[in-house]
Amino acid sequence: MSKSNTILYLDGVSVSFDGFRAINNLSLVLDKGEMRAIIGPNGAGKTTMMDIVTGKTRPDEGEVFFDGQVDLTRHDEAEIAMMGIGRKFQKPTVFESHSVEDNLMLALKGPRSIFPALFHHRSTAETQRIDDILGIIRLGDKRGELAANLSHGQKQWLEIGMLLAQDPKLLLVDEPVAGMTDAETEETARLLKDIARDHSVIVVEHDMHFVRELGVKVTCLHEGSVLSEGTLDFVSADERVVEVYLGR
C-alpha cells in the first residue's frame, strides 16, 4: 500500500493507558477526498484514534502520516491543526462566552500568532467568509447570540461551521448528530455531504440511519483495531460485527 495518494495513513498503531490497550495495532487508510464513517461500540477506540491523529495522544508504536509525507506523531495539536486537520468533539465544544460570530472569527483561517491577533482588524473578505459560513450552518440570525445560549444542535452546527472556517484538508467529526432531532439529523447529513465534496472527512457515529444517509465506506472498530471495512450493508452483514453489537 502506498502512502502517496492518501490523506491519512495509520499503520500498526497501538497505545495503552495504565496497561489498558485503547488502540491495538490499528491500521487505517483514507484517500484524498474520501469521506469515511467509523462505527463501533463504546470503548472501541474511536475517540482515542482521533486523539492520536490530532496530536493529543502520542502512540506507543506505529506510523501516522498525513497527506502522504507528514509524520503526525512529531507534531502537537496546534501544528497539526495548522496543517489542515480540523476536529469536532463528541461533546460540542464552542466558546460559550463569545458570540456565534466571534467563534467563527477565532476559527477563521489566517495567521496564528499573538501580535497579529492583538492588532487585528476585520477585513471585508473575512466578513464575507463569515457570512457565507453562517449561511451554510443556518445560524445567520443568531450571529450576535452568545454561543452558550444556542441549542444543542445549533452548537453542533456552530462547531462544524468553525471547522469550515478553518478550511482544513481533513475533517474529523465525532458524533455530529448526537442529541439531534430527526430533521436536524437529515440537515446535518446534507451539510456533511456538501462539505465532503471538497474535503476529506472522517465521521464517527453510532446512528446507523445517519450513516446510511451518508452512503459512504464504513469502518467498524472493536477493541482498538479494525474489525470490518466496506459498505454499510457489507459491514452490517459481517457476523463478527453483529456479535460485537449484539453481544455474544
Binding site: T54, K56, D76, E77, A78, A81, M82, G86, R87, F89, K91, T93, V94, F95, E96, S97, H98, S99, D102, M105, L106, A107, R112, S113, I114, A117, L118, F119, H120, G144, E145, L146, A148, N149, M162, Q166
Partner: protein
C-alpha cells in the same frame, strides 16, 4: 449592534478612566493649594493612603487580566509586584548617596554594617533612573516569561499551576530574607531620601506620586480594555473557556497565556515601583504568599473578569482594612474574615459582576453582551443559592469541558 453591545462596558471604563484622571488633578490640588482648615482640604495622610490603594488596584487589575480573562489563577502575583518594588527601591537606595548614616557614597547602610567591601554587580546601574525604570519592567517581565514559558509549555494547569506560582513567591520570599542576597534581608530597603531629585517625604512629591499612580492606573485600564477587546482578547477568553478547542483550531494556547502572563507581570511590577516611594519601604514581606492570596480576594470581591471590578475590590477591601484596624483593633479579623465568607456566599461574581446581573434581568439582551464582556457565567444567575455541580466558566480555567479530577 456590535457597538451597542459594548456600549455599557465602554461607558463604565470611560467613567473609571475619567474619575482616575480627575483624581490625579484634584486630589493634589486639594492637598497642596487648599488651606488645612478648609473643609475641602485633603490631608497628606489620606493622599498617601489612597495612593497606596491605587497601586494595589493596579496589582489587582494585573491579576484580573490573567485570572479573570485567561483563567490562570496566579497565587504568586505579589512576587512581580515586589520585584518591581525592589527595582525602584534599589534606585532610591542609590539616590541616598553619602547621606546614609555611615556616609558611604556608594554602599547603602545595610551593606556597610554587614561589611560589604564593594557594591554587588547586580546593583550596578541603579543609580540611573532610566535603568531602574527599565528593570521595573524587565525583571518581573522576564521572570514571568521564563516561568510561564516552562509552565505553559508543559501544560501545567489549574491547581497545579496555582501551587507552583505559590512555590515561586515563597522561594523568592525565603531568598530575599537571606541577608547574603544583598537586598537588605528582612529589613529590606528603606530610609529613602530623593526620587528624581525631589524629597520623597515632601507633600508635593507625595501628591505627584499619587497623580502618577492614578494616571498609570487609568492607562492600565485603557490598555487592559484594549487587549480584552481585541481579537487576542477574545482568544484569551477562548483559552480560558475551552483551551483544547483553541489548540485544535491551530492557536498555540501556551503563547496566548504567556503573553498575558508577561504583560500582567509587568503591570504588577509597575504597581510595585509606584508603591515603594509612597510607603517608604520594600522588604521581603511583600513576597509573602498570604499577600498574593489577598490580591486574589480583592479581585474576587470586586468581580473577576471585569475591568472595573478588581479596582473596586482593591479599594474597598483595603479601605475596610485600614478602617477596621483603627477602630476595631482586636476584632477586625472577624470582620474581614466574615466579609470574605459573605462575599463568596452572596456575591459569587463579585460586586461588579452582581451589579451586572441585577441590571441584566431588566435588559436581558444587554446583560448577555455585558456578561460576554465580563466573561461571567452567561446563564441567568440563580435566584437563590442552589447547589450545583456545574462548573462556572473560568473557575479554574483549565481546558473547557475537561473534568479536572479531584479539584
Amino acid at each position: 449592534m456590535i457597538t451597542q453591545r459594548f456600549f455599557g462596558a465602554d461607558r463604565r471604563i470611560a467613567i473609571t478612566v475619567l474619575v482616575l484622571l480627575a483624581a490625579a488633578v484634584i486630589v493634589p490640588l486639594l492637598n497642596l493649594a487648599v488651606s488645612p482648615t478648609s473643609a475641602f482640604y485633603i490631608p497628606p495622610y489620606i493622599v498617601a493612603l489612597v495612593g497606596k490603594y491605587l497601586c494595589y488596584a493596579l496589582l489587582a487589575l494585573a491579576l484580573d487580566l490573567v485570572w479573570g480573562y485567561c483563567g490562570i489563577l496566579s497565587l504568586g502575583h505579589g512576587a512581580f509586584f515586589a520585584l518591581g518594588g525592589y527595582a525602584m527601591g534599589m534606585y532610591l537606595m542609590r539616590q541616598i548617596g553619602s547621606r546614609g548614616v555611615y556616609g558611604n557614597p556608594i554602599l547603602p547602610d545595610f551593606m556597610v554594617f554587614l561589611n560589604y567591601k564593594e557594591l554587588p554587580w547586580f546593583w550596578y546601574g541603579f543609580d540611573h533612573f532610566w535603568f531602574a525604570a527599565l528593570m521595573v519592567l524587565a525583571v518581573p517581565g522576564l521572570l514571568a516569561f521564563v516561568f510561564g514559558w516552562f509552565a505553559f509549555r508543559s501544560r501545567v494547569t489549574g491547581v497545579y499551576l496555582s501551587i507552583i506560582t505559590q512555590a515561586m513567591t515563597y522561594a523568592l520570599l525565603l531568598a530575599f530574607f537571606r541577608n547574603d542576597m544583598g537586598f537588605g534581608g528582612n529589613n529590606g530597603l528603606t530610609d529613602f531620601k530623593d526620587i528624581l531629585g525631589f524629597n520623597v517625604q515632601a507633600n508635593a512629591t507625595r501628591s505627584a506620586l499619587f497623580a502618577a499612580s492614578a494616571v498609570t492606573l487609568a492607562l492600565a485600564v485603557l490598555l487592559t480594555a484594549a487587549i480584552v477587546r481585541s481579537k487576542y482578547g477574545k482568544l484569551l477568553m477562548a483559552v480560558r473557556d475551552a483551551e483544547s478547542r483553541t489548540r485544535f483550531l491551530g492557536w498555540l494556547a501556551e503563547n496566548v497565556k504567556l503573553f498575558a502572563f508577561t504583560v500582567s507581570a509587568i503591570m504588577a511590577g509597575i504597581g510595585g515601583a509606584l508603591y515603594v516611594p509612597q510607603v517608604g519601604i520594600i522588604n521581603p514581606g511583600e513576597f509573602d504568599p498570604a499577600n498574593s492570596i489577598e490580591v486574589v480576594i480583592w479581585t474576587a470581591v470586586g468581580g473577576r473578569g471585569t475591568i472595573v471590578g478588581p479596582i473596586v475590590g482593591a479599594l474597598l477591601v483595603n479601605a475596610g482594612k485600614s478602617w477596621f484596624t483603627g477602630v476595631l483593633p482586636e476584632f477586625w479579623l472577624f470582620a474581614l474574615g466574615g466579609l470574605f465568607v459573605a462575599v463568596t456566599l452572596f456575591l459569587p461574581k463579585g460586586i461588579v459582576g452582581m451589579w451586572d446581573s441585577w441590571h441584566g434581568r431588566a435588559k436581558a439582551l444587554r446583560a448577555a453582551s455585558l456578561a460576554a464582556e465580563a466573561g461571567a457565567d452567561p446563564e441567568e444567575p440563580p435566584a437563590k443559592i442552589v447547589r450545583s455541580a456545574a462548573r462556572t466558566p473560568g473557575a479554574w480555567s483549565a481546558s473547557g469541558p475537561e473534568p479536572q479530577p479531584a479539584e
